[in-house]
Amino acid sequence: MLVFDRENWPYHRFWCWAVVVATGAAVLWYVAYGGLFGGSWQWPGGSSPPGFTFGVMGGAIIAFEMLLWPRKSLWRGWRLGRTKYWLTAHLWLGLLTLPLLILHGDFRFDPSRSTLAVVLMWLTVIVVFSGVLGAVIQNIVPRMMLDRVPAETIHAQIRHVLAQYRDEAEQLVQATSGSAQAAVESTPTPVETGRRIGRAASMTILEPATPRHVADSEALIAFHREHVEPYLAARSGAKSALASPRRAGALFQALKANLPDPAQAVADRLAELCDHRRQFDLQARLHAWLYTWLAVHVAISIALFVLMIFHIVMALKYV
């Protein structure tokens, strides 16, 4: 689900205006209390009426923001409103914490004074900006994934799928270019590769090109040994000649020129498998973009939450 698309914008419009209005009101109160409109200006501190109010609001919002995790993982079946609405509120309220807590923290980012306050300020900034970055990435990367990775699979299953590709390529090549005995042995039969869970079972059907031995197709074996097999087996295929679509195209073109017509379809299938591998590499990179920010966002949020609780306790004790 894209966060901001034409369909979702109506849900965000209310929150967007609410955040703008709340920020404006907070700034207005802050500068009015500080004496901007008459009198000498003094920065209202965190314990001033506006500063304290913003601190309480910011703390309450952070506590709410933290609830998104149990909402998505622990309370999934509960009737607590759709996760989509929770995410919308999470986004916009999280954005609102930045002005509120900067006003509460007296614009202080200098560690020479109160280290905890400054660390909290910087953590808040990092959390909010990582969240904003995440929202932007979530709007861009899925589109790219859709356009550029048509063979997309589940990220955690990439290595599993590649292992199947490797087996399939091996069987195809052996059946086409190996000995006649090997061709018979490599006749594809439905193989149950999934696990049985209750009544459900997954079956992986290896259905390659017709396993027919083709004479004078030894070049296929050499090509497979030299390029395809290492590329499909490698943890990172970036160094392979097949990682580049142009070079891969040229290599397969050259291979096909040396193959008789009946083996052309096998070469095409190998090219397709390699193309999938390239897409999986791209998918892995996009996936890293899509979720690395989240790791930073969550980890820093946890640190922020822990230190915020300590800050609240100390602030109330020595108010």
Binding site: S40, L116, Q157
Partner: protein, 533 residues
Amino acid sequence: MSETGKQRRSRIELGYYRRPDAAARRRGRLVLLALVAAGAWVAAAPAWEGGAAGVRLFQQSRLASRGPLAGPHAMWDSSCEACHVPLAPMSDSRWRPALAWSKGAADRKCQTCHAGPPHHKNQLERDVPSCAECHKDHRGRDSSLLAMADAVCTSCHGDLERHADPSAGTLATAAHATEFDADPAHHPVFTPPPSGDDSSVGRILFSHGRHMAEGLVSAPGGAAFRYGSLEPADRERYGWSAGRDGAPVQLRCDSCHRLEVTPAAANPELAQAIVPTANGVMQPVRYERDCRACHPLDIDPKAPDRRVRHGLAPSVVADDLRRYYTAQAVLAEPTLLGRYVPARPMPGRPAPAQAEQAGKAADEKTLIALKRLFGTAAVDQARGGQDLPLGRGGCVECHEFKTMSRPLVDLEAAAGLAMKPVVARSTWYESAWFNHTPHRALECASCHPGATEAGEKIERILPKVEDCTACHAPARTRNGRAEGGAGMSCVLCHRYHNGDEPGGGLAATARMPAVPMTLEQFLSGGPTQSRDR
């Protein structure tokens, strides 16, 4: 040969989601790291107390404190409870309604060291803020605990009629003060203390205009007072230089008016050095230091070294002089001591003629000396002969008589003489505080314009609001010249506590803490925090 979506799906393991993927595992490790780091900081902070500068950023006091304490409180930077009462707000004024159980708790802590006497007797209880409402700390070592917004003052002084208890007496200050400028509607005009109403208090008969004139002449063309008339030890102080004995004396303001100073006597090399005190007030003018060189209390031209001590009552001066002249007579004729002279005339035993004559001579000399000090026309002539500006001379040149029962024609009349006491002021505007030290670069006449004019009155010499607002005003440009920009907050000139006794200052008895503390109690924040209690 290309795969269908169904074929692709069929390659996926059914229970794949039961195992966390690499991204989730990475996220879990990061969360754990963040938790450990945050917890370690909180847990290990006490161990970093007093560590090296880099480590100090993580110490415990930095976890709770919003910033370093001001210099005067620096020793309690790591002792929160020296000033804070746990769970009691520092400022009750801000946390209304104040929590009943903690009301005033923090103020009492402050008052362990600072008595904080009331502002005025007619202030209303509800208007009295907490200590921390005005004195904000944790703003850095160099911050001022007196720096506060004008609104703290103008919240009451903007409309004092609503914030004063009329039953406690009439207001001694303006009813409306909203900001400092030359508009009387915003800030009251400066008012010197009333003079002349109390006939028992004397004033110095003094003309700034005459003293600032070259040669101290009383009128153009009059006899000038020259450096040669001063004793050699005094000349340099009044601007003399070698070869200028015949030059007329030219006084400057600092010939008599000097900043209050602290002698730096601890260091022998700096024994002569003096530094201005923090208050920056002018020392009161004192006769011995500022007047004696030109106005010596001579009693006899034949005894130029013999002078009367300043500050004695006339009757005491008369007794001293009588003893002096009697002693002089005995020194001249020691045989006088060998003859019995009864205290009062006795029948058949007349006083020896020589002793009687000596007594009368001493009385006469005493009377002449008293007249010289307490004024006759003859003395004016004598002073004229010494090339001094004409004046009455002696004590009455500057002081007024309190009582004079009869003319000074005999010694008995001296017993009835009394001078009006003089209050030597170093502060004229008692409700405000002024530091001369930062203003030393200015000519005195910039703020005291009437000081060099003849016939001046004190009202003309003391500065007015307009003299201050040339600098103490918002920054502006007038006729192409930058003006203003200096501070203009209320606390620049005014202090809050002990307002009914503004002259008391920080050392006033009312500001003393109730119970003196031992050093250990002091460092731990007061008697209640002491380990020995």
